[in-house]
Symmetry: C2
Subunit: 356 residues, 2 copies
């Protein structure tokens, strides 16, 4: 038996800002039974349920990028092929001993309705017994964004009670969780975002101590001085560029910068943070780039901790959901335009998520 698989592919490599015309919706026929394979090439056929929309994926779409050799999950994407993306799905057929039909899994799936995941590619079974929406595991609070916030804040920033924390893109999927982890750690946390609506959400619903709209500010260094009269101890960077420069200007001695993402630099290779290295030395600042997937050893710790926080209401999950494979390109572009609030996820299948 065959199913029609609709998926999104790049028409071409994308080296600047992405446009809807860079993508096409393709269709193929896919057998729902996998063929026997050599044992070192065992595959799993997955029906995608939710796909996480992550801005860092733009780096995999470039002709050349240092990301392509950094981790298997970030290798170069090829025009015409289904774009890979983190998501949640259900196993339809499996030649891999660890998975069987019906398993709910998360891992590196595709911007499509179905995908074949090869051995060695990120794929893990999900414990769905807590009753949270599956979207939480796709890319949000219990998915890659949550894990990235957890790893970056606790393991890279190493917060201490009372420290002053600044988060950029604070209404994005990672930033909104970093702020909540920071509050739970007894830190003072200020976020920046790109609209009044986002700023209000951060202050009134999410529990940030303060927040500001960076689009209304002219001199980011003075802005940060206003919001952090006692200086910044931790900067969780999701944007790079001038905001990073301004944060370094306002950092305290022994300050830490976790560089999680630099969305302002992804689509403009000439835009780079010009850092004041003299301050870096005398303030003993540490700037650390990181990839959360390196720390899969603490994935279970993250899941149990964050599950508890969600159950007791200490953490709020904010999601921004689109529907259907066709909506993926726009969902991706929306992130670069700042149109999302919280985690951007695309729901692929309607209804109860069973395979029909």
């Amino acid at each position: 038996m065959e199913v029609k698989n609709k998926y999104v592919a790049m028409k071409n490599h994308i080296d600047g800002a992405p446009n809807e015309s860079d993508f096409s919706i393709c269709e193929e026929l896919l057998s729902v039974k996998l063929q026997p394979q050599a044992s070192d090439d065992v595959h799993v056929l997955v029906q995608n349920l939710y796909i996480s929309i992550d801005p860092g994926l733009i780096n995999r779409m470039k002709t050349h990028s240092s990301t392509h050799t950094s981790i298997p999950e970030a290798s170069a994407l090829l025009p015409g092929q289904a774009i890979e993306g983190i998501g949640v799905g259900r196993v339809v057929d499996s030649r891999h001993p660890d998975f069987k039909a019906g398993d709910v899994v998360w891992g590196l799936l595709s911007w499509g309705e179905y995908c074949v995941v090869k051995a060695g590619v990120l794929l893990q079974k999900l414990d769905t017994s807590f009753g949270f929406p599956l979207s939480y595991y796709a890319g949000g609070v219990l998915g890659i964004s949550g894990f990235t916030a957890y790893v970056g804040f606790f393991k890279v920033c190493k917060p201490k009670k009372g420290e002053k924390v600044f988060v950029s893109a604070a209404c994005g999927s990672v930033g909104i969780l970093v702020g909540q982890y920071a509050k739970m750690s007894g830190c003072y946390v200020v976020g920046c975002a790109g609209s009044k609506e986002k700023v209000d959400l951060l202050k009134e619903k999410i529990g940030f101590d303060d927040a500001f709209n960076y689009k209304e500010e002219n001199d980011l260094s003075s802005t940060l001085q206003r919001y952090f009269p006692e200086g910044i101890d931790i900067y969780f960077d999701n944007v790079g560029g001038e905001m990073l420069e301004a944060a370094v200007e306002n950092m305290n001695s022994s300050g830490r910068v976790a560089v999680c993402g630099v969305i302002s630099e992804y689509t403009d290779s000439l835009r780079k943070a010009k850092l004041d290295m003299v301050q870096l030395i005398y303030k003993r600042i540490r700037i650390q780039g990181f990839i959360s997937l390196d720390l899969m050893s603490i994935y279970q710790e993250f899941i149990s901790t964050t599950t508890q926080y969600l159950q007791t209401g200490k953490i709020k999950a904010i999601e921004d959901i689109s529907y259907g494979v066709e909506s993926i390109p726009k969902a991706f572009l929306d992130i670069f335009r700042g149109n999302n609030i919280g985690k951007k996820v695309v729901r692929i299948v309607e209804g109860d998520h069973a395979l029909h």
Copy 2:
């Protein structure tokens, strides 16, 4: 009894490249007996023997600098007053219980013949029993440069055997020792310097695996690719600017940058390293500014280790010595012009270093 104390002072704050006209040689009369003081303000009168010439001191000469509040040893210098500098001296008189006349000490002394060191300011007794020249302790291999190389390389870079190490300003007082520590750690080490003479010294006498003259290179990123076909694991940065950018371009995954000094940026506040933050993330690069004086807890470890290395000939001390207080301003300017080879030290007293 009074002595004449000749010292160097700034005529004015220095906010760009320093010139000889920024400094003046002053004289004052100083009593060789200290007056009784309140117990919380106990002083030590020191006759300076050797003064270390350190480029970072330029930051203390600026009107405004983030350095001024970073550590007591880096507070703003004031025009007209004797410039403070690390050095070795002999105690002439002491009101402090830890020091007595005749003690040989190192610490924050002055660009002069004598200085009065207040309680709380860096001052330590020296064990001179190994018979090394006292200049070694002033700022060189057993002094602040050696300590900085030791702290920065072993504690900040955390080298592993076989790693590829790049050192800039490799013929400077810190770089020349980092290269030797790196070789002893089983690393492959390449240095850059500003003349053929320096490059030859690094390769033929000091034991660097390779070295190049950066002034003969047009595209530093390609240069580093040539010298590190397998990439850089550790960059010990003494210069900042374009060299730091090129090093980040050529770094391997989990690369570490110890930012020790940024001499190319000290005298030009507009010159900043424009870092590729995308590479920083995907290559998980750590950039760490540091001040060696923060780690005084390992000072004795450094002294015993390095003393042994010197005794067994595993480390060579390269010094560049000038004579007399009058020579200090030129010695300082020479560092910015790249005229020194190895540690720049000024010998203040002729002869056997006794107080006459």
